[in-house]
Amino acid sequence: MNSSAGRITSVEKFGKHSYLTAMEYIPSFAFFANRLFAIGSQLSPEQGSSGIEVLETDTFKLHCFQTLTGIKFVVLADPRQAGIDSLLRKIYEIYSDFALKNPFYSLEMPIRCELFDQNMKLALEVAEKAGTYGPGS
């Protein structure tokens, strides 16, 4: 998601071995999530809070990594899944390599790059092998 329009380019459903891209409900989720993050940063009792990092429920854990440019990477995972922090950073690298460096990809548009998808899939497989909850990373 970018910082202004809040448009998501892909949604990962993780922990059930499925890689789901849900283009139908992405715009409304993106809008909702972007507002939630903005409210979160204002509600925080801490000074200089940048927003929600982890949202934990009984059935899933939402992890958010926000870059200094305002882009948010969101991963929904099993609450016991480990290795999400390094996965988020890996996704940032993959985004900067295979989406941004593609000269025909326009910024803030949905990412439809084959190499991006392939590398994302690989990264998810690697993270899955990191295993479930232990001393998380």
């Binding site: 440019t69 940032y92 460096k101 990191a130």
Partner: protein, 181 residues
């Protein structure tokens, strides 16, 4: 299996000359396409801006720099980390005013001009490396900082040093909670 986010195992090096020649071909072609130096400079800056908006994410992902708290911290990072990472040089930094929003990067070496002897006749206002100004401007824009970036001095024009000036512009409606740096 975990490794630091900034380490890239498959970092392929290419020949620097190929890069320098490609840049030279770009500038030469722009000079053929546009008569006025201002137009060439403008398009170099525009292209650089497009590169900067993309390159900044690569830089942030690979260098893992932390949030900065002052303009001079940002300039230090640009000079010591970014220039080093992408061009293999480390310009020196100077602050030009007491309100600490105008800075200069002084380039001792510049790989882009390695094979350029002098500017062609009639091209005295050409900023050969203006792409760099656009890159810096585009990158800063992506972290919500507006800046004017331009060459203040250029060895190719006969000056004693090559100097890039960066002036941070204050946004009048900048809200505190949105301040990133």
């Amino acid at each position: 299996m975990s490794r630091p986010a900034h380490r890239r195992p498959e970092y392929h090096k290419i020949n620097k000359d190929l890069f320098v020649l490609t840049y030279g071909a770009l500038v030469a072609q722009l000079c053929k396409d546009y008569e006025k130096d201002e137009d060439v400079n403008k398009y170099l800056d525009k292209m650089g801006h497009g590169i900067g908006t993309r390159l900044v994410e690569d830089f942030l992902a690979r260098s893992c720099v932390r949030r900065c708290h002052s303009y001079s911290e940002i300039i230090d990072i640009i000079a010591q980390v970014a220039f080093k990472m992408y061009l293999g040089i480390t310009p020196s930094v100077a602050c030009n005013n007491s309100s600490r929003n105008e800075f200069s990067l002084i380039l001792d070496k510049n790989p882009l001009v390695e094979f350029v002897e002098e500017l062609p006749a009639g091209r005295t206002s050409l900023c050969y490396c203006n792409l760099l100004c656009g890159i810096i401007r585009g990158a800063l824009e992506m972290v919500h900082l507006d800046a004017d970036v331009a060459f203040l001095q250029d060895r190719l024009k006969g000056d004693s040093v090559t100097e890039i000036g960066i002036t941070f512009l204050k946004k009048p409606d900048e809200k505190k909670y949105r301040r990133k740096k």
